[in-house]
Each structure stands twice: as C-alpha cells, then as structure tokens.
C-alpha cells in the first residue's frame, strides 16, 4: 500500500476531502505518486501488474468510503490508458506517458470544464436575480463568484441541511467576497422560494434517464422550485455522466454515520436519544445522496454546452466513446 494512497483513504474516511471533484483530483494525485514510485517486479508485465496494483488501491479506497460515480469513470479511464500502452515503451517512458495522461484528464475534464461551465452559466444570471443554491458545490461557488466579479447585481440564498451542514462553508466564502446572502434550512425552502428567480444546483453525477444524483435534499429543493415555477439549472462536468439508470433514491445510495443524526452539533439540549441509540426498534438512517427526477430539471450546464436532461445519453454515447477512450 503506497503511503500517498493510504493518506488519501484516511482523508476520505474522516471527511476532510469531500465533493466529487476534490475527491477525484486527490485520488489521481495519489495514483500519480504511486505510479512514479512503481517499478515492475521481475517476471511480470507492466500492464497487468500495474492494473492489479491500481485495483488493490481502489479496493482500499472503497473500504474507506464508497466511490462516487465520477471517480468510477475516472478509474475506468486510467485502466483504459494502462491497457492501451504500447508494449514497445520502456518502463520510465510508460510511467511518464501515464502521468501525463492523468494530468491531461484532470486538466481537460475537471479544471477547464469548470471554467467552461462558469462561462456558460453566468450568461443565465441577470441583474436583480435572487439565486438559490443547495449545499456546497464547487462549480456553483465558482459561478457565483465569477458573476459577482463581472459586476452583476444579485443576491444568493444558501439552503443547508443536516447533518453535514455543508452550506455554511459556502456561505462563509461567499460573504467574504462581498455577496449578500441569506442562509436557511431546507425545511423553509417553500417559504423562501417565492422570492427566488433561479436555482443553481451541483451534482455528483447525472444518469442516462436525466436523473440527477446529488446530495440528499437536492430533490426536495428541485421539487419545490418546480412547484413555484422557478427554473432549475444543474451544473455538472461531462465526466460525471453515467450510462446507468436509477428510478429512485433507495435502489442505490450511500449510508453515512448514524450517530450524526442523533446528535445535533452545537445544540446540547437535543439529547432525547441519549442511551436509545442501541435499541433494536430504533433505526437511524443517514442517507448521503438522492435522485432528482428529470422533470424537475430545466437545464443541465456542462462543458459541452447547455443541454436538456433528455440529451444526457447522447453525450454519454458520443463524446465518451471518442474522447475518453481514444
């Protein structure tokens, strides 16, 4: 086990690194370190052995925290590149090629993709808008900050939820840059939606039937926005698209720590469940993701442009085949 991979795994476990893009980049940096220090054992081929090594690293990371869809796509890309390495290359050349491929992936699919998404999305923000966002998506944060730099006049509503309360981090960063923000809990979203003009959401992944798989609570926000006829724009890089289909949030999900539900951070008076947590009749369910049906989504903003939810399988089919596995 390479120490860099071990470190990243522990960071996932403790929650220090969270968010689709951050996890993916951290994983690839760790893999780059591992590839750099790798040397083929005698009697083994580079391709097969390296693939096996990467698989073992991935199993370790899964033990720490289940993979997100985007990480699954990224690992598929890496294994594909390893398998396509020409046999004539020497070990150091092969390693160099791999590392440059990984760099290219991170650069093209994540960093530049984010910039393109921001460029598209700020055209959808007008002066006087009230923008609502949920949780803390890195792309949405970049969009809001860029729009503010361009001088657009708008205000932001940050909706947050238990138990992670990720919205507070986003709120701090926005307020520091001078945006006027409102902060509320997801329960009050029906009260605040009357004032909102646009909803910007991030996604962990977008599935083939247009369903957006994102932080739990996103579906509630999208549903209420739809009821109030507010457009919902989902900002997601194309490498996060997946050809799988999911009908509801229960079929496939991740379970978080149940203790996080019974305890409320900062409110010591909410201790009704002390000593009750081990009762067999009581189950504490901490879902991490949920699936938002495509009828609630007005538009998906990706690095390939602004598309309706029905065009997701097209992107998956066409661009994936050409670019990722060429």
């Amino acid at each position: 086990m390479h120490p860099a991979v071990y470190k990243v795994g522990l960071q996932y476990l403790s929650g220090d690194i969270w968010g689709g893009n951050a996890r993916c980049i951290a994983m690839f940096q760790a893999f780059k370190e591992a590839i750099k220090d790798y040397s083929t054992p005698p009697e083994k081929t580079l391709i097969r052995d390296l693939t096996a090594r990467i698989s073992s690293y991935v199993s370790f990371l899964i033990e720490c925290r289940p993979l997100s869809n985007s990480m699954g796509n990224a690992i598929k890309f890496l294994k594909n590149r390893i398998a396509k390495l020409p046999l004539v290359l020497s070990e150091s050349e092969a390693k160099a090629t791999l590392m440059s491929d990984v760099d290219r992936f991170i650069n093209e699919k994540i960093i530049i993709a984010e910039k393109v998404i921001v460029k598209h999305a700020v055209t959808k923000i007008r002066d006087g808008d009230v923008l609502l966002t949920y949780g803390a998506s890195s792309v949405v944060e970049m969009i809001l900050l860029h729009a503010h730099e361009l001088g657009k006049q708008f205000r932001v509503v940050v909706v947050d939820s238990r138990p992670k309360l990720e919205g507070q981090l986003l709120l701090r960063r926005l307020v520091r840059k001078g945006l006027s923000c409102t902060y509320t809990h997801v329960n009050a979203v029906s009260c605040i939606m009357q004032e909102v003009t646009r909803v910007f959401l991030g996604a962990s992944s977008v599935l083939s039937n247009g369903t957006v798989y994102s932080r739990v609570g996103t579906a509630c926000v999208a549903m209420v926005a739809h009821a109030f006829r507010v457009p919902v724009l989902v900002c997601c890089e194309a490498y996060k698209f997946h050809e799988r289909v999911q009908l509801d949030s229960i079929c496939f999900n991740e379970l978080g720590n149940p203790e996080a539900i019974s305890k409320v951070h900062g409110r010591e008076d909410i201790n009704y469940l002390d000593g009750f947590v081990n009762q067999e009749k009581l189950q504490l369910l901490n879902l991490v993701y949920d699936a938002t049906p495509s009828d609630y989504i007005s538009m998906i903003i990706t690095d390939y442009g602004m598309i309706p939810p029905t065009s997701v399988p097209v992107i998956v089919r066409e661009y994936r085949r050409e670019h990722l596995w060429s």
Partner: protein, 339 residues
C-alpha cells in the same frame, strides 16, 4: 362579577406569559373561563342572547389579543358565540311552539297540551327573525322581541295567556343560560377527549405492513399510532426530525418506548424516502376554512412530495384547531412565529 374579573385577568396573564402548554389545554381553559363568564352574566328580560354575546365578545377579544399565536383561543370564543346563537334559535322555535300550544289549549280549556303544536308560519318567521338577525338599523331600533306582536296574530289574548307569556319569558331566560352552559360543557368534553376520539379511528386507516411517514412531533399522532399498535396492527414509522426544534427525536423515542419499529431520518431525506411510504400522517397547528393547514415548517415540502408520489396525506386535528376563516400568515403573525 368581580370573581369573574379576577379569573379573566389571571387567565390573561397566563396567556401573555405563555404559561399554558399546548393548544388543547389552552382551548379547554378558555372554554371553562367563558362558561364562568356566561353563568355570571346578568341577562336582561329581553334579548338575553345579545347580552350574553356581548359579554363573551368583550372577554374573547382580550383573550385573543393576549396570545395571537395560539389560534385555539379564537376558535373556542367563536364556537361559544355560535352556541349562544344556536341555543337561542332553538329555544325560540320551541317557545313559539309552546306559546301556540298554550294559546290553543286555552281556547279549548285544556291545560295539558297534548295537541300537535300548530305553528303559524308568520309566528315562526317572526321568531327566527328576531333571534338571529345580524345588527341592522331595524334591530337597533327594536328593543323588544316580536313575542309581544305574535300572540295578537295567533289568537285573542287573555289574562291566562298573558300569564303563560310571562312565565314563558322568565323560564326562557333561565333556560337559555342553562342550555348554553350545557352546550359549553359538551364542548369542553369534546376538547378534553379529542385525542381519544381521533385515536379510535386509527384502526380503520392503518392496516398491516404499512409504512407511515410523519414530521416533527404531535401528541395526536402519537396516540393515533399507539392506538393502532394496541389493536395488533404491525407497521413501521419514518419520523423526520423537524429541524430546528428537532421534535422528531422526541416522537421517535416515544414510539420506540411503546414498541413500534421506527426510523429517524433528516428532513432533507423526505423526498428520497417517500417512494417507499404508504401514508403520511401529521398533526397541525390549525386547519383553515378552505381546507388548508397551518403546520410546523417543512410540511409543505412533505405535502408536495406526497402529491408527486400519490401518497395519502392525513392531517389529525382536534375540533379546537379548526378556524372559521382562511387564516393567512400576516406579517404581524409571522413576526411572532419567527423566534
């Protein structure tokens, strides 16, 4: 009267300082207070109902102003006023029948009225007009009810009729108060037993192997679910915690203590879980006249999700929570609701 004043002031104090917990207790104490006010009110000979209404209104307005958030107070006051008007009307109709009866029997020298009450249409119309008329210029100018006019139309009066008339009137005044107090007692009884009455219906709605979703905590919901559990229905409950008060934790604890399999979820997971839920059962703060519900924050989201997934959305509310108007959350009320 001073006795009642002291009671009223004491209750007003409790309301202002929010010393009374829960809408059921508030409603019950309001009804009991109004009962004392009614029994202490001195009613004039004529137009007793108006006097009672006047005194109840005066006290009621002060009660409502003391705690505008607790809508049960206003509901109970309006119900008592309605009771007064209703009892007055029914007494008038009965008295009309009685007067005609005595008139007819006087004519026939038959004291015991075994005859059919022959009600002349004009008499009844006059009676109902006098009792239930909303204030108008006519009623203001007419102090005396139309009873004086009626016997003239039905038959020629005599001394005996005059005596029966006055006897009717004084017995009528006592009877009105008596009837009203009886009806208010029934109201208090209804309010006290509202949880039991609602819980009795639990078995009709909850069947085997159901999954029920609720948000926050409500005593009515707790008793409802436990009543179904008593009748050996097996079902599972999802409780959403209901931030920022987190009353869902309390409800989950109560349900687990009574042996119901319970799952506690966050409010954001409501849409995720609702596809697996058979029924949503919640309590309410108040039920509006158009069917709308004033409830703890977050229930609008649950209702929308239930509508999307065609899940029945059941609201449990006692009679003291039913508003007569479409209460809107005015900004003044919102300021008080927001802590």
């Amino acid at each position: 009267m001073p006795d009642t004043q002291a009671l009223v002031n004491d209750f007003l104090n409790k309301l202002k300082k929010r010393k009374i917990e829960g809408s059921q207790a508030t409603a019950k104490q309001t009804a009991e207070l109004l009962r004392s006010v009614i029994s202490q009110t001195r009613v004039p000979y004529t137009n007793q109902a108006a006097a009672l209404i006047q005194s109840v209104k005066a006290v009621g307005e002060r009660l409502i102003a003391a705690n505008p958030v607790e809508l049960a107070v206003g509901n109970v006051v309006r119900r008592v006023l309605h009771i007064i008007r209703e009892e007055d009307l029914s007494l008038t109709a009965a008295a009309m029948a009685g007067v005609n009866l005595s008139a007819v029997s006087d004519d026939e020298d038959d004291a015991d009225g075994d005859n059919q009450p022959v009600l002349s249409a004009a008499a009844i119309a006059a009676a109902s007009r006098s009792t239930l008329r909303p204030p108008s210029l006519q009623t203001l100018l007419e102090d005396v009810p139309d009873f004086a006019a009626v016997p003239h139309t039905s038959s020629s009066g005599g001394d005996s009729e005059g005596k029966s008339k006055s006897a009717d009137k004084s017995s009528r005044s006592r009877k009105l108060k008596h009837d009203v107090i009886e009806a208010v007692n029934e109201l208090i009884q209804d309010i006290s037993t509202c949880h039991e009455q609602i819980a009795e219906q639990a078995v009709e709605h909850i069947h085997q192997n159901e999954v029920i979703l609720t948000l926050g905590s409500s005593r009515t919901v707790l008793e409802f679910l436990c009543a179904a559990k008593e009748k050996k229905r097996s079902f599972r409950v999802f409780v959403a915690e209901g931030a920022p008060r987190y009353q869902g934790h309390l409800l989950a604890k109560e349900l687990v203590m009574r042996g119901l399999p319970t799952t506690l979820i966050t409010d954001s997971a409501v849409f995720a879980m609702i596809s697996r839920v058979n029924m949503v059962i919640v309590g309410a703060h108040a039920v509006m006249a158009n069917g709308g519900v004033i409830a703890p924050v977050g229930l609008n989201m649950v209702a929308l999700a239930a509508q999307k997934h065609a899940v029945p959305f059941v609201v449990l509310a006692g009679i003291h929570k039913v508003l007569r108007h479409n209460g809107c959350l005015t900004s003044k009320l919102l300021d008080i609701f927001v802590q």
